[in-house]
Amino acid sequence: MIKTVIESIRDTLRQEMARDERIFILGEDVGVLGGVFRVTEGLYETFGPDRLIDAPISELAIIGIAIGAAGVGLRPIAEIEFADFIHPAFDQIVNQAAKLRYRTNGDWDCPLVIRTPYGGGIHGALYHSQSIEATFAHFPGLKIVAPATPYDAKGLLRAALADPDPVLYLEHKKTYRSIKGEVPEEDYIVPIGKAEVKRQGADLSIFAYGMMLHESLAAAELLAQDGISAEVIDLRSLLPIDWETIFESVRKTNRVCIVHEDTYTMGLGAEIGARIAEEAFMDLDAPIVRVTGPDLPGVPFNEIGEQTFLPNAQKIADAARRLAQF
């Protein structure tokens, strides 16, 4: 069945909640309203106030309480209304959830899913556009996924809910309604830690995720018109990263372009580039290229400012053309 990303997430939440009574959703406006983006629309009517808990504006407590409930065997889904507001809960995520198993020698665990909408392109300005993945990718013990398609939205959400560790499930809000795709009715899982080759190519590899996957696929179309064959890989899992799929593609194309909307310095591109330089240096025919958000404190509200900030198909294609010609 063809669904949008938001429909895929909503339907998966409904299915999994019907199947497993340990699952509940805790977050601001998730209940009666159905979420500010309507991800949880209709769930309150089915599952009631015990399982869709409208929280006060207390991000720290939303995550901390979910950690406590996860520790004693429930399967909480904590929703942070916008990723931009996750930082009051930073300590709970990185010092508590991510460390609970390790610090107790495996005695306790934290099977917690944190869902949050992130990313720009919807006129959200500085505080409704942030990409937070790099900040959290520095913390062993945590997992991070960023589905770009309705298919992966379901498969990765089911994987996250089945995972014994805390998973940060990032929903790019621009994909919510703009990206449609086939979502099978049957149960399937997209394993955490596996990337996917979305388009085969021979001349260069583009690594992307979230909304930037779609911009990268559009860039590959533009490049094809110039006779450049770009391979496009959807990373999907950001912690852990599927290094095998990355190195395989580098060995094949020998040219690397990493794309993310998150800012440049210390972004995921830095880690991916470093690992390729360490482990696949002899396979490279050109310096690694990064197309990312600029090192600015935030995404401006103004339309031109916003477009200036965000990478897009054109910017990616321009960089990739230079890479191909190197």
Partner: protein, 351 residues
């Protein structure tokens, strides 16, 4: 207080002796760990001296077979009631492999045991308070939501309450210093909204390391803040185990019946420096510390037991001998226990 007295068990003598024995054991363990630290064995001691009465008082008011603890870091006496052994404590202190809280990964006083329902502590002051609320939420959730369909993909058998209608209770301890953190505010607010089965207990020893209470807050009692959340706040003499016990019994009963949280503030004193790395002469006088010795529960409660003829020179000597043997056994065991291996250092990042 009339109602509280009715809650006391018939066998008050056994209770009082139990309290004294556990407080004494906690104090002697404390002294042993301090000495080991000063001998260069054990990098970090966190004294409990002064907090023992609060620990035994509340732990004996709970049901250790079903209830949950998210304790304060100085709650050695409560943990002894709860089933943590002197050997466990010394292994944790020395960071040895058999340390049940962390297998030697965490500093001392970072308690935890899944088997005993003690939620793991980190070094982050008050970071455990929302976890305690989450545990309490789970207790209520299970009763309202899962109870109706038990056995369906659910591994919650640990969560049975001895009384059908009753809730398991979570006890959450923290210090006066920790009470200033947003974690505590957000947690209390949430617990109040949902009338969760939890008791918050602020063990107020007057200091956050060196910072005295008057530089931490403008109010005299942390308990006064409970009014702002819509549940009762009570001040109790935390150096009197029976007073803490009575007060805790009421709060626990309230929580168990679904009437929601209580904030208990136990006024205590810390006799030793904050930790083995602290120098308390820089922020309080020796006279202050000596003055507070008059309230020492090991003194006052001992005197009470003598008056009540529950203790005499002979039985006390025997008790000291037994406790001393337990402490020495624990120290010897922990000193000889294996270290965390380099190989095991890499374990348990993910499940």
């Amino acid at each position: 207080m009339e109602l509280a007295s009715q809650l006391l068990p018939i066998d008050i003598e056994t209770l009082e002796l139990d309290m004294y024995r556990t407080m004494l054991l906690a104090r002697r363990l404390d002294e042993r760990m301090w000495a080991l630290n000063r001998q260069g064995k054990g990098h970090f001691a966190v004294p409990c001296a002064g907090h023992e009465a609060t620990g035994v008082g509340y732990a004996l008011a709970l049901d250790p077979a079903h209830d949950h603890l998210a304790p304060h870091h100085r709650d050695v006496s409560a943990l002894l009631v709860w089933g943590i052994t002197p050997r466990d404590i010394l292994c944790h202190f020395l960071g040895k492999a058999p340390d049940p809280a962390s297998g030697g990964r965490q500093m001392y006083a970072h308690w935890g045991s899944r088997r005993l329902r003690i939620f793991s502590l980190s070094s982050v002051m008050a970071g455990h308070v929302p976890h305690a609320v989450g545990v309490a939420l789970a207790a209520k959730y299970r009763r309202s939501s899962i109870a109706s369909s038990r056995g369906k993909g659910d591994n919650s058998s640990e969560e049975h309450s001895p009384r059908d209608d009753a809730l398991t209770v979570t006890w959450c301890g923290f210090g006066d210093g920790s009470s200033s953190k947003g974690d505590v505010h957000e947690s209390m607010n949430f617990a109040a909204i949902h009338k969760l089965p939890i008791v918050f207990c602020c063990e107020n020893n007057g200091y956050a390391i060196s910072v005295p209470q008057k530089m931490q807050m403008a109010v005299e009692n942390v308990a006064d803040r409970a009014a702002g959340y819509g549940f009762p706040g009570v001040v109790v003499d935390g150096m009197n185990p029976l007073a803490v016990y009575e007060c805790a019994r009421l709060a626990v009963e309230r929580a168990r019946c679904g009437e929601g949280p209580t904030l208990i503030e136990a006024k205590v004193y810390r006799y030793l420096p904050h930790t083995s790395n602290d120098d308390d002469t820089r922020y309080r006088t020796r006279q202050d510390v000596e003055h507070a010795r008059a309230r020492d529960p090991l003194k006052t409660f001992r005197a009470q037991l003598y008056t009540e003829q529950l203790l005499n020179a002979g039985s006390e000597a025997q008790l000291e001998r037994q406790v001393g043997e337990q402490v020495e056994d624990a120290a010897a065991y922990a000193l000889a226990a294996p270290e965390l291996s380099a190989e095991d250092t890499f374990k348990y990042v993910y499940g």
